[in-house]
Amino acid sequence: MSGRFVLLGSVIYLLFFLAMLTINPGPLIVAIPLVVYLGFALLNRPPHINVTAQRTISADYMTQNQPVKVHVEVVNNGDDLEELTIQDHLPEGIKIVTGSARTLASLLHGESLHLEYTAQAPRGSYEWKEVIVSAEDHLGILRQEEKLEIHSKITYLPDIPTLKKVAIRPSRTHGHSGPIPSRKQGAGVDFFGLREYQIGDPRRWINWKASERHDQQLFVNQFEQERIADVGIILDARQQSDVLSRDSKTGKILSLFEYSVRATGALCNAFLDDGNRVGLVVYGFGMERVFPGYGKVQKDRIRKALGAARTGHNFALESLRYLPTRFFPAGSQVVMVSPLLNADLPAFTRLRASGYEVLVITPDPVDFEARGRKLYGELPWQLAKVERALMLHKLTRMGVRVVDWDVAQPFEPLVRSALSRAPVAQHVVLV
C-alpha cells in the first residue's frame, strides 16, 4: 500500500467530516471523484509479484574509474504486471556513467526485461546485493514491492605508478641471483675486497695497483654476490592513521590512505620486477595477508588485495604492537607504508631488534591536512611539523630508513632520489 492510498483515504475522510460538520453536500460531491478514483485503483490492483532476476557484470576486476557494463535481466513468471519499476540497488560509491539502474515497464507473463547501464567507481571492493521490483496499478495508488537477493561483486584495482629501481640491502638473501648485494663474496659486479692470487683466477681480476705495493705477491679483486631477497610490505590501514582532507580545487574528499595504497603497489611491483619474493600485510580492521611469492601471479594477487584494502578500526590492532613479524622470514627487508603515529615507535624498535632491515615510506599527514584546511605555514602546522620531524629523527636513529613523502609531489622522483642507491651495510645484533 503506497502513501498515496493513505493520503487519498484521509482526504476522503476529511471531506466526509466537513460535509457532516457543515451539513452541506458540497464536500461530499467533491469527494465522489476521489472515491471513484480510489475504487478504480482497487479494481486494477497489482497481482502478486513472481519474477526472477539475474545480474551480469562485464568484469570481476577493473582498474579504478574504468567503466564496467552491468546487465540485469528480469523474467516475469507470474501474472501480467501493468506497471513494474525495477531498480538495481547500487553499492555506495558506484557512479553511473551511461544508462540507468532504474526502469519502468509493463511486463506480461513470460516476458523478460533487460536493464543495462555502465558504472564506474574509485578503488575499492563493491558488492551489489539486491534488485528492488515494485508493481503498481496504473494510477500508482497500490504498490507491491519485492527485494530479490542477487549478489555480485567487483573490485576496482588501484592505478599503480611505475618505479624503476628500489635499492635495498637486507641482512639475508636467497640463493638465486638478483639485484641485491648479498654481503658475500662471489660472482658479481660490485667490488667486495681483495685476496691473494690463486692458480686459476682470471687475469683480468688481478688488482695491479694493490699488487705493486707488495713484493712477489699478486692480489685479485673479489666481487659481491647479487642475490634476491625476501621483502615484506606492510600497508597501514588503521583508521586513526588515515587523514581525510578536502581538495581546495575540486572540492573532493581525498584520503591519505589512497596515496599509501598506490605507493605500496608501486613498491611491490618494483621489488617483484627485480625477482624478489614479496609478501603483503594490510594492517587495519583485520590483517589481510598475501603470502610471499614471486612473479606476475604474485603481482596480480597483491594488486587484488590492494584493490580490496580499506581502512577500519579494530581496538585490538590500534597500535603496531601486534604486527605479525613471523610472517616475514628472519633477516628480510620489511617495508612499512604508513603516515605513522607517535605510539608506533616501539614497534620499529622490536622489528630492528628482530633483525629486519626496515624501510618506512611515510606519506606526510601534516602537510596533507594543512593544505586542505589552509593552515599551511600557520603555528599549528609548524608545531605538528616539528613533532613529526622529531619522530622521524628517532626512527632514523634506530637504523630505520625513512622516506618522508609530501603527497603533493609525485612518488617516482622521490624514490629515484632517495632509494636508488643501496644503503651502507649495518651491523645488526640479533636477539
Binding site: Y13, M20, N24, V30, G99
Partner: protein
C-alpha cells in the same frame, strides 16, 4: 513525456482557471475584495505547481491538491458555486495530482523506449476514472432525495466504515 506534460498542463489550467473565475465572480457578486487576493493566491499556487513539476521538483503536489479541494469546498459552502464547476475543479485537480506523480516516475526511470505506450495506458485509465467520477458526482448533485437527518448520518457513517474496512483490507493484502 511531452504529451503527458501537456495533458497535465491542461488539467491544471482548467482547475486553476475555473477556481479563479469562481472566486472573481463571487468577489464581484458579494463585493468582497479579499476574494480577488484569494484568486491571485490560487494563480500563484497553480503557477508554482506547474513550474516545480516542469523543473522536476516534486513533493508539494499533495499540498496543492489539498489546497485546491479545500478552496473548492469553501466556494461551495460560502458562495454560489455551481456543482458542475466544483466537480470539474476537483476532477481536474485530481488529474493534475496524478499526472505529477506519473511524470515523477517517468523521470526517475530515465529514457524509456515504451514511454508512449505506458503514457497512453495511464491516460486511458485516468480519463476513464475522471469520466466516471464526474458522472457519479453529477448524478449526486442533480438527484435530490430528501432523507431524514438520522438516515443521512447513518449513510455517512456507513461510508466512513466502508472506507475504513477497505483500507484495512488493502493493508492486509499488502502485508
Amino acid at each position: 513525456m511531452i504529451f503527458i506534460r501537456r495533458v497535465f498542463a491542461a488539467h491544471l489550467t482548467i482547475a486553476i482557471t475555473l477556481l479563479m473565475l469562481m472566486l472573481g465572480y463571487n468577489a464581484i457578486l458579494y463585493n468582497l475584495t479579499i476574494l480577488f487576493f484569494a484568486a491571485a493566491l490560487v494563480l500563484l499556487v497553480g503557477t508554482y505547481w506547474y513550474s516545480s513539476a516542469v523543473q522536476g521538483k516534486y513533493g508539494l503536489e499533495t499540498t496543492f491538491l489539498m489546497a485546491t479541494l479545500l478552496a473548492d469546498c469553501a466556494g461551495f459552502y460560502f458562495y454560489a458555486m455551481p456543482p458542475l464547476a466544483a466537480l470539474l475543479i476537483a476532477v481536474t485537480a485530481l488529474g493534475a495530482w496524478d499526472l505529477t506523480y506519473f511524470l515523477r516516475r517517468l523521470k526517475a526511470a530515465g529514457k524509456l523506449d515504451y514511454e508512449n505506450q505506458l503514457g497512453r495506458n495511464h491516460l486511458r485509465r485516468l480519463i476513464l476514472a475522471e469520466a466516471l467520477g464526474m458522472t457519479a458526482g453529477m448524478m449526486a448533485a442533480t438527484i435530490h432525495i430528501s432523507l431524514p437527518f438520522w438516515l443521512l448520518l447513518l449513510f455517512i457513517m456507513l461510508a466512513v466504515v466502508g472506507v475504513s474496512r477497505l483500507i484495512i483490507y488493502v493493508r492486509k493484502q499488502a502485508e
